[in-house]
């Protein structure tokens, strides 16, 4: 106990002794990892609906051929902003929110390593997203050259209006925010773990976030550099990407995808981590192949640095480059396959029950695999000449992001909300939300494979009439999917306010405390936890690997 007393003497400013401060100010100045986690998650949820509304505009316009609701430039702003808001405003912050809540709870730490920096990362994220959103109201509109911001398109007056510098500074802020977040996560995991917890005892969620944090530190600065070059090309007469001055627009694509490919893994690795946490609990078995999961995660992260040009097969690379990037990309399917195999093996002969978090996780395993398969198809360089920049690729990455990352975020919400709030969510509505989402997400995205193979290009507001039927079906799926998410919003609010009224146990889910530390704490989780680190840590999840 003496250690605790010392801590309070020296760092009275880092820790509030008696629970949260009163009033609204609490949320602005808080350095408590649970408060900051909540802020991140609520912000991400709000952005999920902002980005979602943009998707609804896109699907409404594509409901029928011809121009109905919006003009083409605004349509293109919508595709660009939808992607940026979802990637940088919704999915990434949601996982940072989960990291804030869960990592200290799971490794027996009292808080994040650098609590004040943690507060700063959050508010910088808000500033970055607001700056980005402000471009919607500018003369000339928000950026509309696609989320990849390719030059020369993005530098042309017609595509940028006044927005480019704002978008660039927004990327800087978002980059600094995620780098600070990543540094914090690494420091927390390395320095704050309960002494009893060895690295190879850590839950997979913690492992995947550790690796993701390194990816963030490695690639966010590269993206910041690329957009800075865009800015100087536009306003300060440099010629990084300007052919007339000796530059090359293809160079931008290389730099962007050096960031961009690891970026997609930044969104999927924590997804893998949450899935590996939830599935064993509802299969009532230890995770199959814990050590291989850790190695698979690390090798996916490593490979993600050396495959970037599979996004630019059609750019006119030398044949050696095409072949190299083709085979390297296919290699990623190996560790990814190991993971899918392990999740399946974990469920094999398990005493499974199908509560909402498990349903979303199972759907993730199945539907993510679909996205992986289309990825493999596109990895075949000669075949990709047909798929590239069509709806096929739109279908590919939405399968890897919506029924994968987003579904797992939902699963995480259902899984941990009872722990965080002490209230049970309404299982009936949860299951309804699951079935509506799963059915509609497939109506929404599956037809896009057909559209792409038939040649419908991405990022267009109008299309040839032969694409009409599948587009209408896809839009209907989109509207159902969008509407179903309001159920999730309802459930989150309802659960925070008391849910079913049923008192949840500390464990919440049967024998969950065998799998991870947070379930040994009271429900709801007190404001301060693990002021003394736990003496023993659950190792059920690693049993299989020894």
């Amino acid at each position: 106990m003496s250690a605790v007393v010392v801590e309070h003497d020296h760092h009275a400013d880092d820790h509030h002794d008696h629970g949260p401060a009163k009033g609204l100010l609490r949320w602005i100045i808080t350095t408590n990892h649970k408060d900051i986690g909540t802020l991140y998650l609520l912000f991400a949820l709000a952005m999920f609906f902002v980005g979602g509304s943009m998707a609804m505009v896109i699907r409404a316009e594509l409901f029928e051929p011809g121009l109905q609701f919006v003009d083409p430039a605004f349509f293109n702003s919508m595709t660009t902003m939808h992607a940026l808001v979802m990637v940088f405003g919704a999915v990434m912050p949601a996982f940072v929110g989960l990291a804030n809540w869960q990592i200290p709870l799971m490794i027996g730490a009292a808080d994040m390593a650098l609590p004040r920096m943690n507060n700063m990362s959050f508010w910088m994220l808000v500033a970055g997203v607001l700056l980005l959103a402000s471009t919607l109201f500018m003369e000339g509109g928000a950026p509309n050259g696609g989320w990849t911001l390719y030059p020369p398109l993005v530098l042309q007056p017609i595509t940028v209006g006044k927005a480019l510098p704002f978008a660039v500074f927004s990327v800087h802020l978002l980059g600094i925010s995620s780098i600070m977040g990543a540094i914090n996560i690494i420091a927390t995991i390395f320095n704050m773990r309960a002494p009893a917890m060895k690295l190879m005892d850590m839950p997979l969620f913690v492992w995947t976030w550790l690796i993701t944090a390194f990816l963030l530190i490695a690639v966010m600065p590269v993206f910041a550099g690329a957009v800075t070059m865009l800015l100087t090309d536009k306003f300060f007469h440099t010629s990084f990407f300007n052919a007339a001055g000796g530059g090359d627009p293809v160079l931008y694509e290389h730099i962007f995808w050096f960031f961009g490919h690891p970026e997609v893994y930044i969104m999927i690795l924590p997804t893998f981590g949450v899935a590996s946490t939830i599935i064993p609990v509802f299969a009532r078995k230890p995770l199959f192949g814990y050590a291989s999961m850790v190695w698979a995660t690390a090798s996916i992260a490593f490979l993600s640095f050396i495959v970037w040009a599979h996004h630019m097969f059609t750019v006119g690379m030398p044949i050696a480059g095409e072949l190299y990037f083709m085979y390297a990309t296919m290699l990623i399917a190996v560790p990814t396959g190991v993971k899918v195999f392990n999740w399946t093996a974990t469920m094999w002969k398990g005493a499974m029950t199908f509560e909402t978090p498990m349903l979303f996780s199972i759907a993730f395993v199945v539907l993510f695999t679909m996205g992986g398969f289309t990825g493999l198809m596109m990895a075949i360089a000669p075949a990709d000449f047909q798929y590239h920049d069509t709806y096929f690729i739109v279908a590919h990455f939405h399968y890897t992001l919506v029924p994968a990352s987003v579904f797992i975020l939902m699963a995480a919400g259902y899984f941990w909300l009872p722990k965080w709030t002490g209230h049970m969510y309404n299982e009936k509505i949860g299951q309804l939300h699951f079935w509506l989402s799963t059915i509609s997400v497939n109506i929404l995205f599956f037809p896009q494979h057909f559209l792409g193979l038939a040649g419908m290009p991405r990022r267009i507001p109008d299309y040839a009439v032969q694409f009409a039927d599948w587009n209408m079906i896809s839009s209907i799926g989109g509207f159902i999917f969008g509407a179903s998410q309001l159920l999730f919003l309802y459930i989150v609010i309802d659960t925070i306010k008391g849910g079913t009224g049923e008192k949840v146990s500390d464990e919440v889910w049967e024998e969950a405390s065998k799998h991870s530390l947070e379930w040994t704490l009271p429900s709801p989780v007190p404001y301060h936890t693990w002021t003394t680190p736990p003496a023993i840590v659950p190792t059920e999840h690693v049993l299989d690997s020894h």
Binding site: I179, A187, N191, A218, M220, P221, G225, M229
Partner: protein, 183 residues
């Protein structure tokens, strides 16, 4: 948290911050790296802009073969010029030298500096297409309203593989006036 741990945290954070700054620099380092890699022989990067000036040496003309060379002219964004070619296409024998004239005009009342950038299709052709003279080798200065006829002299190396029957050569004029003044 104990004094000890917070020291460790700050130290680790500093190191990681340095790594992040290093990666920002790495992004910029990719620029020269890209040029170096593109020069590597074994990568055989077929870059249209890699075509340097070649001397007129005189090949044996292959009269049995004919290759169609198409010429395209474009203006970047709103470059205020007229730019066209005297011939839209030309049937040539590998090994024989040809000259094609291009016509460019400054439509403004001010002097301007413009630069034409060439591009080929298919890209491998850049290995067999030799230019003896081209207006695209350097920046061109135009006086107000000035018009110029600019020759491009070339030969196709007779070693060009049989399967290439049509070559497209495209030139785009970029208005470089502002850039040249500022630099």
């Amino acid at each position: 948290m104990s004094e000890d741990v917070s020291k460790k945290n700050v130290k680790l954070a500093r190191i990681l911050l340095l790594v992040a700054l290093g990666m920002f620099g790495f992004g910029y380092a990719l620029v020269p790296l890209y040029d170096v890699l593109c020069e590597w022989k074994w990568l055989e990067r077929d870059r249209p802009d890699a075509i340097k000036k070649a001397p007129e040496i005189g090949y044996t003309v292959d009269l049995n073969r004919e290759v169609t060379v198409e010429f395209m002219t474009t203006l970047n964004e709103s470059t205020p010029m007229v730019f066209r070619t005297e011939k839209k296409q030309l049937k040539v024998h590998p090994g024989e030298y040809y000259t094609v004239n291009f016509y460019a005009e400054n439509k403004t009342d001010k002097a301007m500096v413009a630069r034409a950038i060439a591009s080929f299709s298919p890209a491998v052709i850049s290995r067999y297409f030799e230019k003896i003279e081209c207006f695209c080798f350097s920046e061109q200065t135009f006086k107000a309203k000035e018009a110029k006829t600019m020759p491009m002299r070339f030969v196709i190396n007779p070693e060009i593989p049989e399967e290439y029957k049509t070559i497209t050569l495209s030139y785009t004029f970029f208005d470089n006036t502002e850039k040249s003044v500022k630099n």
